[in-house]
Symmetry: C2
Subunit: 198 residues, 2 copies
């Protein structure tokens, strides 16, 4: 029987490493990173079209300086834009900046969600993954998060659609209005939510 290794769950600091490629399927110009990159074009790339995440959890962004659509990147291989992008009706295929996610902890993550803005209405404390918030009895579509460890919220059930990273270290962990979720956020609707795996 194979034993899964769980370094971050044993309290070890994660080591971060990705390799980005200018072409799909890990072709063309490539470069390895162990820390954030605010603009891949400054490294001579016109775009990132595939990425290998060797260690740690990362978040990629559509635009430079960590703006635009967010792409949650856990360890593994992402050969094409549609392997990391969630919003497919908005087909830009731009991936210009990325950074490590430092406070992901799959075991100890906690998040509070509120039915209305500014921490009003019904609230719930979550510490698991929920592929369907509605299936768990959460009727509100106006979900606002605060006091988060690192979670990722999704527009649609089953972890589909736009992705929004919610971190305890950003906005003081408080995302009290859906416009704080990200510069591309256009709806307050969240239908699934999960922890991020380091």
């Amino acid at each position: 029987m194979y034993r899964f290794s769980r370094p971050t769950m044993m309290g070890m600091a994660p080591f971060f490493k990705v390799t980005v490629f200018e072409q799909e399927h890990f072709q063309g110009k490539c470069q390895e990173f162990t820390s954030e990159c605010c603009n891949i074009q400054q490294c001579g790339f016109d775009n990132i079209r595939s990425i290998r995440v060797q260690s740690g959890a990362w978040v990629g962004y559509e635009h430079h300086d960590f703006q635009g659509q967010q792409f949650i990147l856990e360890r593994g291989e992402y050969p094409r834009w549609d392997s990391y992008c969630g919003n497919l009706s908005y087909h830009v295929e731009r991936f210009l900046s990325f950074r490590p996610i430092y406070c992901a902890d799959h075991q100890n993550s906690r998040i509070m969600i509120f039915e209305c803005e500014n921490s009003l209405g019904h609230s719930a404390k979550l510490c698991e993954d929920y592929p369907s918030l509605q299936a768990m009895g959460w009727g509100g579509t106006e979900v606002v998060c605060m006091s988060a460890h690192t979670f990722v919220c999704y527009e649609f059930p089953g972890y589909k659609g736009r992705q929004y990273i919610m971190e305890c270290e950003r906005h003081n962990g408080a995302y009290q209005h859906w416009r704080n979720w990200g510069s591309h956020s256009q709806t307050p609707q969240i239908q699934s939510i999960r922890r991020i795996q380091q």
Copy 2:
């Protein structure tokens, strides 16, 4: 504090209900179902373009008679093809049949994965969700599943890419070759795996 309801976790039989629509965003001709539909065209629809899942977990299929790409559908709203489809490089937008998933149990699901075909090589028993199998120390891309409760396996990390439902009641729960995963399966690669929520 809001209390999540967990009917299926209390052992109650789930009630199944979906409403399908011929147009996107829940427009046009619609019909409610509480059991499987092997061909929506026999109901006078040319295609399903949006769907509301009111109760239970369902699986949709690209073709009639439960063939082609699979779409895992948990409770919630799916207004466009890209809100349920995982394989976006293959842009067909066909959704012609669907059925309930009877043995989904978010709490008691178990699955064995093997590194090689026919239950050979390293193996692991999973009972949680794994957004990155590689992050958990699973290096093999040739993952074959058997003895499954209902799980969904994905081509890419973070529950992206092609989706494959693995059920204890189909193939006797044994999916010993990746060609058994589904009629559209083209690669043995699985990078994330999760339980299905009823």
